[in-house]
Amino acid sequence: MSVAGKLEIKSVSKHYDVDQNRLQVLSGLSFDVHSGHFLSIVGASGCGKSTLLRLISGLDDDYEGDILLSGEHIYGPSLKRGIVFQDHRLLPWLTLEQNIGLSLENTGWSARAKKEAIRAQIELVGLSGFEKAYTHQLSGGMAQRAAIARALANKPEILLLDEPLGALDAITRIRLQEEMLRIWRVEGTTMILVTHDVDEAIFLSNEIVVMSSNPGRITKRFLVNLATPRDRASAEFIELKRQVLVELHLYRQQSKDAQENGIDMASLI
């Protein structure tokens, strides 16, 4: 099991300069993610969620404020911080096991340890038998699971997930949510998940951060204290979902009919 570290985001702001115009993307973000916790970020498209994950991953060092992992400033990418991009980003010229092996290149592990880690990860995400498959031979869901396996293989302290299930159909998505929950329990990694799916956020997380745009900022934090395994149809689940949707301005108190409608529309977003 990997050692989970505490992540601290302190007054983080970020802007882009687009044609001499200053575009403020993130403004004064502050929150902590405790060791081994599962935090979800929801928010409208363009509010800076991917940008935030890029900052935490170390792909972009150009921001104001502080990001600390286990008390230390992050600097550049690190194997302690794994990331699953929204597109699976498997390299098409590598087989599944080679793709996973790529994240072990610089761990300094022995060849045996690497081989064993690859085998274990493939088993964890349920892709045994596809070790030699190329990316185009995998389904979308399998590719996403492979990307999760790749990010987990080198035992990061923290895993950043950028809408990893966004492109999948509802059935596959629910199956993979359960799988992610199981993986989180087994690995104990600190997780930060960006999602558009409020159900997914409630089902998986200890805490939900709601962001709004222009500039991207945190408007509300919800602690999820529901018993596990979580029942998506339970009253508490639905009540929390209502509160989150209100916060996202996706829910208006209306007649019973419209209300049902509102929920359905929102969960489609």
């Binding site: 792909l59 990331i83 390299l91 010229w93 610089n106």
Partner: protein, 279 residues
Amino acid sequence: MGDVSIVHTPVGKTYDTRLRDHLLALKMRLGSPIGLILPLVILLLWQTAATFQWVEPVFLPAPRKVAVAFWVMLTKQDLIFDFLASISIVGQSFIYGSTIGIGLGIAAGLSRKFEQFLGVTVDTIRHIPGIAWLPLIVLWLGIGAPAKILVIGKSVFFPLFLNTLQGIRSVEKRHIELGKVLLLSRRQMVLKVILPSAMPSIMVSLRYAAGLAWALVVVAEGLSGLEGLGFLIFRAQGLLLTDQLLVCMVVIGVVGFIIDRQMYALQARILRWQQGFKG
């Protein structure tokens, strides 16, 4: 087919089944039999034209006469020797030209400085056709193999150099980013990310250059030298040996076809990771 018409020999396969096996194997190699229709039609037209003497036999000998000429050239003359001479020149030009092309293409792809350093020179030389270099190079190196290897090698070099460079430059940014989050070293990045993503354009130009080299050797041998298929063609023209001329043409076409199929097979093998690779 009626039972009576087939006479089963007691041992081994009948002539019929052997023929069928043969055709099957041929089909596997040539792809769909539909591709054989046109060559057969052309052969038929040729035969008809020869039979009815639409064209003077001196200018268009009958297919049978060409077949005989092939046999004579093979057994009594040095067709094999000339064939090997051409193949050897093409082989060497291809190996040197593509090695240097890919090598410098990678170097220029990885270093803008190096690309700028080569830029003007490469873009100027590129526009002087290989054949235009031949007279000068023959003055320097004589009419032997080295001059031809240099000229054809140059024609192989450019498509390889340009495509390798372009392939490396078009590597996807998101793949580089992935390499960065996985902390790949420069070396690992080149070997695992950049070169593989340039591979499709390298393979395309390799296949193209192989065909080009084979076509050019005939021209180069025709213009200078005393051996090779190109030399034979122009000699046959001079001596009005049209049957020999046609033999050479058919051999060149068939060999070109085989080279292309082999390159295709290599390409398909190396790029087997590509979805729906069709060449």
